[in-house]
């Protein structure tokens, strides 16, 4: 099959650090709660990098996520950054993001990050309410969260983002608005506001099922979603993706956007996913499995898939509809030989008529109400 000629820009590099001090009850990321293997993992990462040498164009973003990357000591981080620079070429003006846990960072640590070239910080705040933080099983409290943001500002970071969670069982809208207001008062560049989702087998979900506590109704979830969007946009943030808000387009996560428009990315570390030219692959979801394979010089890939044009089209549809930019119609039709306006005219008329989508020059964009049902719209259009 001929792959679509699609090259939206330089690739991104992601490194997954699968270690946490303790597991949060709601978390479905891959990480282990013992640090025992962290040192050998750090030795293995450069070996994995060497398996990919010269396979990617120069990267323009680096994102160190997890897990909890802030568990890595600054000396070790320095070694890691050197290894990265040795293994891969980068464009100038690269975006370098690291995720940090509020209880791990102090001014010295943050200073060190700055000097290593980190220019974007993502702090896992989750809430400014101690009761909620403990319900979620976080190891920090609200004061730690403030302190971390303040220290980051003091260290000179101007591109700071925090993660927040809403839709906690029993949570009222007013309480969430309180957390939002506190976040707004920090006047930082980026906010990620995630509705709490509990996947099957996740401890908090099982706990809630036993105790009979309920996640908010769909109606309330919608209210949380719309209210968040409304408040943050009024405060000058752009609601640029379902859960992401930035003070100006230039503050949107350049790295994360790559996931939503089929830009190539390389993911290193256990469970990391990679994508390039219609092919996606992912690493073993086990630190041991990962290290065993690296140990014998084999790439630690667990599985891969080659997407058909139809699959790519479906992805482009549901990913595009998650973002403020929406779907660029001329690009879409040249990539997929599918003129949405023509082929889906009736459906689009209905969707625009009901206020879910707008057609704005060359873009098919979700409205706020449309973003709330982006999955439903994708399936409606796809079928």
């Amino acid at each position: 099959m001929e792959l679509p000629d699609w090259n939206p820009g330089p690739p991104g590099l992601y490194i997954h650090v699968p270690f946490c001090r303790s597991k949060c009850g709601y978390c479905s990321f891959y990480s282990v709660d013992t640090l025992h293997d962290l040192p050998s993992f750090l030795e293995d990462l450069p070996k994995e990098m060497s398996l990919y040498e010269a396979q990617f164009e120069p990267f323009d973003t680096l994102y160190i996520g997890g897990g909890t990357p802030s568990l890595i000591k600054t000396d070790d981080l320095k070694i890691l950054f050197e290894a990265i620079d040795q293994a891969f070429p980068f464009c100038g003006n690269r975006e370098v993001t690291i995720e940090v846990n509020p209880s791990d960072v102090d001014l010295a640590y943050l200073d060190a990050l700055r000097s290593l070239g980190v220019n974007r910080l993502n702090i896992g705040v989750q809430s400014f309410n101690d009761r909620i933080l403990s319900f979620l099983g976080r190891r920090h409290n609200a004061v730690d969260a403030y302190a971390a943001v303040t220290a980051a500002l003091a260290a000179g970071f101007d591109n700071i983002g925090i993660d927040l969670i809403y839709g906690i069982p029993g949570q009222e809208l007013s309480q969430w608005i309180d957390t939002l207001n506190r976040a707004l008062s920090l006047n930082i560049a980026h906010l990620s506001c995630y509705q709490l989702t509990l996947e099957k087998g996740i401890p908090l979900r099982e706990h809630l099922e036993k105790s009979g506590a309920l996640l908010p109704s769909e109606r309330l979830q919608r209210e949380f979603f719309l209210e968040t969007s409304d408040r943050l946009e009024s405060a000058g943030y752009i609601h640029y993706e379902v859960s992401n808000f930035a003070k100006g387009e230039h503050r949107a996560s350049r790295h994360n956007i790559k996931y939503w428009n089929h830009t190539p990315y390389l993911g290193l570390g256990p469970s990391a996913h990679s994508y390039t030219a219609g092919k996606r692959w992912w690493n073993s979801r086990s630190v041991r499995g990962y290290m065993d394979r690296i140990g014998v010089g084999v790439i630690p890939v667990e599985s891969s898939e080659t997407l058909t044009l139809e699959q790519l089209r479906l992805e482009a549809l549901f990913l595009g509809l998650r973002t403020r930019w929406g779907i660029h119609l001329p690009d879409f039709s040249s990539r997929f030989k599918c003129d949405l306006l023509e082929e889906k005219r009736e459906a689009l008329d209905k969707l625009t008529g009901d206020g879910f989508l707008t057609i704005d020059r060359e873009f098919l964009r979700p409205t706020r109400a449309g973003m709330a049902v982006a999955d439903g719209i994708a399936s409606f259009l796809f079928i």
Binding site: E218, R222, S379
Partner: protein
Amino acid sequence: MVRRAGKEKMRQILMDNIRNFSIIAHIDHGKSTLADRLIQYTGVCTDRNFQEQILDNMDIERERGITIKSQAVALPYRAKNGQDYTLNLIDTPGHVDFSYEVSRSLASCEGVLLLIDAAQGVQAQTLANLYMAMEHNLEIIPVINKIDLPSADLPRVLKQIETELGLDPEGHLACSAKEGTGIEEVLEAIVQRIPPPGGYRDASLSALIFDAHYDAFRGTIIHCRIFDGSVKAGDVIRFLSNSAAYKVEEVGHFLLSRQKRDRLTAGEVGYIIAGLKTISDVRTGDTITLDARPCTTTLPGFKEVKPVVFASVYPIASDDYEDLAVSLEKYKLNDASFIYEKDSSAALGQGFRCGFLGLLHLEVVQERLEREYDLSIILSVPSVRYRFTLKDGTVIEVDNPTHYPDPASIVLSEEPYIRSSMMMPERYLGSVMKLCMEKRGINSSLHYPSPSRAELTYEMPLSEILFDFYDRFKSVTQGYGSFDYDLTDYRPGNLVLLDILVNGEKVDALSQIVHRDRARARGLQACERLKEEIPRQLFKIAIQGAVGGEIISRTTISPFRKDVTAKCYGGDITRKRKLLEKQKKGKKRMKMIGAVSIPQSAFLAVLKSDSS
């Protein structure tokens, strides 16, 4: 059964070492399990390849735990007298909807094992099947099964055999098919009591087609019983009904799979493969003879099937109409009780009107069509056959609500009635009577075949049985009741057409003809069921029930307003896409009415009174 082969003077032979018999019983009394034991005892199947109810080889039979198709298997058996026998066993279904299978099997037999569950005793289909066997003059061996059950009550069952079945209880056998006790006695009784088949081996071929199936490689495969003469590969056979002639490629017996043989001879049951590509040439009940030396008389064949439930079937994608047509033809080969003809619907396009022997039969046909022919189909709401007398004096029969005549032209509406017969332990009597009254039952009668068992009969409109009767009967009798019915006559009824509108569009496949007094309740129920079955969508969906343009019930399905997942990064994309792909597959089983997707299940669900 001895048949004279014209004036030809020939020696009638008795195939002394062959026995042809069926196992018949009420549903679940253990026929297939007994067949298992006989198969194992005679070593037809190694233990390694064995699975329970081995003859129930269709997926749908295994999933539902019931037999749907009769299944023949030849068992080699060395009797205590030292002689070797071939015992041709036919396992039959017990459910009343498949009684046509039983009746056709009996035409190939000289005897039956009439199984009776030691705990449940004689039930409706025990009697019905016994009468069928008697009509065929077959030797009847009553076998009491499940004697291992703690609730087994042998003295009671023996009494029932005598009083209710009118058989000599002396001749009964007792076994536990599950535990394998009493099996040898059953085999010996088959040899000693069931007469060997007779026939004129040297006469011209006369064979009865009792079943058939379509094989993608070999074409139509005929299942037949040879009454006279013999047939072998190379012979040219002819069907008496249409004179179509074919050259035989292969003949053989049914073991667990087909076993090729040199020839099939009078008295034997087996198959014929003859490069039959024109499916419609083969008719169950037809007589096969040899082209070179035809027999002169046609075998009596089978009673015509009388479908009682009707529904239309449509392909979900209209492109699949031709596929559906071919598949129905092939399907019918293997289900002689299924009938169909062309039909079309304003909402669903080209399709076929089909007749079924009951609701279970209808469900089975739907499932088999989807599984065996990989079709996605929609079935309209099932209906019985009504009768209308019009002003101009013509009388029309309508089994399809879309053909409901102009109400102004109707002078008399009539609907089919049944005489139902229900057996149950006495303690359920009250709740069953209540149910029957709710179902417009009249003229009841009650008697007690034995002290604690009640037999209740009611006259009821057949349409009431379609509408959620079985499930409720089962639940009020906690599974201890049995139900059987006969169509009796047509009686006047005040009938109206109930239409269903989805977002203002009439969906003719959801229309029902109902009694006027029931219209409002049924309209409400239909709306409620549809509300449960139709998934919430991006848009509001209005569902209405209407009689003659007047809206009598309504409900709305509110749209979903928040469904997007919070996170969609590198690791989430594949999962999300697979989910949508799965949904798309699911939608293949839905029909789009305007912008609304209606799942296949909705069409049958309107007949249920609640979601249980």
